[in-house]
Symmetry: C2
Subunit: 233 residues, 2 copies
């Protein structure tokens, strides 16, 4: 029964020093008496918990997640703001900005026509060098200039607009999902395809009630704690 493998792996991780490298997959699999596929399956849980970090061509390392980025969902704040508050430094990587076309569903959500020119911004947020979130924003053209993006953008469309003061923002409506990481997500977050990630699909509104930003935010579960208070009646 490979529930054992899970427990034995847990033990191995528990006694390892932070930063320690595990045996290579073939060796570890042999030592545990299971196939490599089974071992990798068992590793999945610990990866999404942020306890293991795999690096292709290098090895698998034990990680001690530092502080967890915690947030109540009632307030809209960027990851950078949240991280700042607990004194955690985050950086941005793999920034890609491109003009893009809206697909049908997105156009409908944003109340735009299909031929609206739009800008897609994708990037990875790293905490202590580890990718922890993958964000993709889609905005109608005209809200972001290329100079602004080059000079001011630090990872958050929200922060940029708040700093700029225009347009005035009011709220975001987010849909919360759990999804299996597709190839683009698993690559960006450095996890296995099919691993579980938390996805916020959000629409950001201005004070006038205009949708101004459609975003997909993929979060590595182990590094974030989102909570919400739900009232009876």
């Amino acid at each position: 029964m490979s529930k054992d493998i899970h427990n034995r792996l847990e033990e191995i991780i528990a006694v390892a020093e932070p930063g320690e490298r595990l045996l290579s997959e073939p060796k570890l699999a042999e030592q545990l008496g299971v196939s490599r596929a089974t071992l990798r399956e068992a590793m999945r849980t610990f990866e999404t918990q942020g306890l293991l970090r795999r690096r292709q061509g290098v090895g698998t390392f034990v990680v001690r997640p530092t502080r967890v980025i915690e947030s109540g969902l009632e307030v809209l704040e960027s990851i950078e703001t949240l991280a700042d508050r607990i004194g955690l430094s985050v950086t941005m990587g793999e920034l890609q900005i491109s003009k893009c076309r809206l697909d049908n569903a997105t156009a409908k959500l944003m109340q735009l026509s299909l031929d609206t020119e739009a800008i897609c911004v994708s990037r990875v947020i790293l905490a202590e060098g580890r990718p922890v979130a993958y964000l993709v924003d889609t905005l109608p053209g005209g809200y972001l200039s290329s100079e602004e993006m080059a000079n001011e953008f630090t990872g958050s469309v929200l922060d940029l607009m708040l700093k700029r003061g225009t347009p005035l923002l009011e709220s975001a409506r987010s849909e919360i999902k759990a999804v299996a990481a597709k190839p683009d997500v698993s690559r960006a977050l450095n996890i296995q395809r099919g691993d579980s990630v938390l996805l916020f699909e959000s629409l950001l509104f201005t004070l006038e009630g205009l949708p101004i930003d459609y975003s997909l935010s993929y979060f590595l579960p182990g590094y974030f704690k989102f909570h919400v208070v739900r009232r009876v009646g």
Copy 2:
């Protein structure tokens, strides 16, 4: 490249009639020109979207998810209440009630001593015969009698207490996570081990602010839509 497989599977599902059975895994794998393992990997996404339903010993079936159970997170309501509102009938299965001991973390959360007698209630919620949620509640002993459970319990601890009127309930604090299904969860929800599910880890409080119920709620993503409004500043 097995991204193709994903798309081809998508196409197969799209043109299939609801309720239609797919070819068996070995046959379908051969037809698509991939191994069974690869095919199963590709199937994962569609399972958690609720588009495929696998039944051991029977086959894999195409499902058209009917209505999605949608809820804002600000208000605490049971799945039964939400389903009722959209006219969807849900039933309860695999009810298990047992006395249990608190583990360390749970005891701390509930502000109880480790030797407190507690009751664990687990059950599966089915919508149209399909398991869509797996709920595990832990309560200190004394709140639920066995007669009540036998006669009144329809799947929701919340509804039972609200109906009874005591203790008076105020709110729940929920932590939202994405997790890979462990064996117990995958069995209960009829999905593959490691599939992504949405997990709410909640603590329910009385009007006096006493924690009275600790619950883990695992949701099959495709059948639920949770949303929340997040305000700026």
